[in-house]
Point group: C2
Chain length 155, copies 2
Amino acid sequence: MIEIERKFLVKNEDFKKSAFTKNHIAQGYLSSVPERTVRVRIKGNQGFLTIKGASNASGLSRFEWEKEISVEEAQQLLPLCEKGVIDKTRFEIKIGEHIFEVDEFYGDNQGLIVAEIELDTEETSFEKPEWLGEEVTGDIKYYNAYLSQNPFTQW
Amino acid sequence: MIEIERKFLVKNEDFKKSAFTKNHIAQGYLSSVPERTVRVRIKGNQGFLTIKGASNASGLSRFEWEKEISVEEAQQLLPLCEKGVIDKTRFEIKIGEHIFEVDEFYGDNQGLIVAEIELDTEETSFEKPEWLGEEVTGDIKYYNAYLSQNPFTQW
């Protein structure tokens, strides 16, 4: 399926007050090039294998295919991944009709906090909370696949 | 799981006489490096996603993870793959207690025929049919992932 997502930096930690979920995520990449990323993820007690294609011209939409796998399978696949496993906590916050996913990164990406919102169309409008910062949609630097190879603390 | 496989060149087409299955295979790679290959395959009316790790020191065994997916999913994923889709017919031939999988390649790999046998242990013995040629187990050149990028007709 094609996903429409917009991505933003986050100005402060006020989003944590209104989060309704909080999950630890560890993920690695079997391929980290933007044309075809293959991601292995452990999120809480679930595993996922996710394949993404290149972004379209606007940088807003991207083909995405995802299958749930067991945590055991994900644990077997993570050691095969390229160096640079991503370690983060994901918070979910409901603002108006939409849900923001906010990722607080640790390890080599410590200090980075990024918010994402999934939308039905490229034109869909949404409410912006006060903690939402600069838009970075389509900026490859903020792809997790890029961060795994070029972590934030080394920018 | 860990797979133990031995691979051979094939001297002539006599194997076709005793084949009990014959299936067309199209496959591409989301990652083609030997340390982590990610393969999308359409075999007859089935789709598969297969992830393989690096070979062990002897070149005989390799971590392999495979999930069946629908042909429609595989058709969506193939266009994301690196250039160099592999096109071949796979024949299965029973020899004694074991099954040989023989792949006859087309397109840019026309002229190449390779046989593989899966074994329980590295020491397991097996009967060799007269059409079996030189052993090429562990030779990365004969990995399909390598062939997709460096096809046989260009060697």
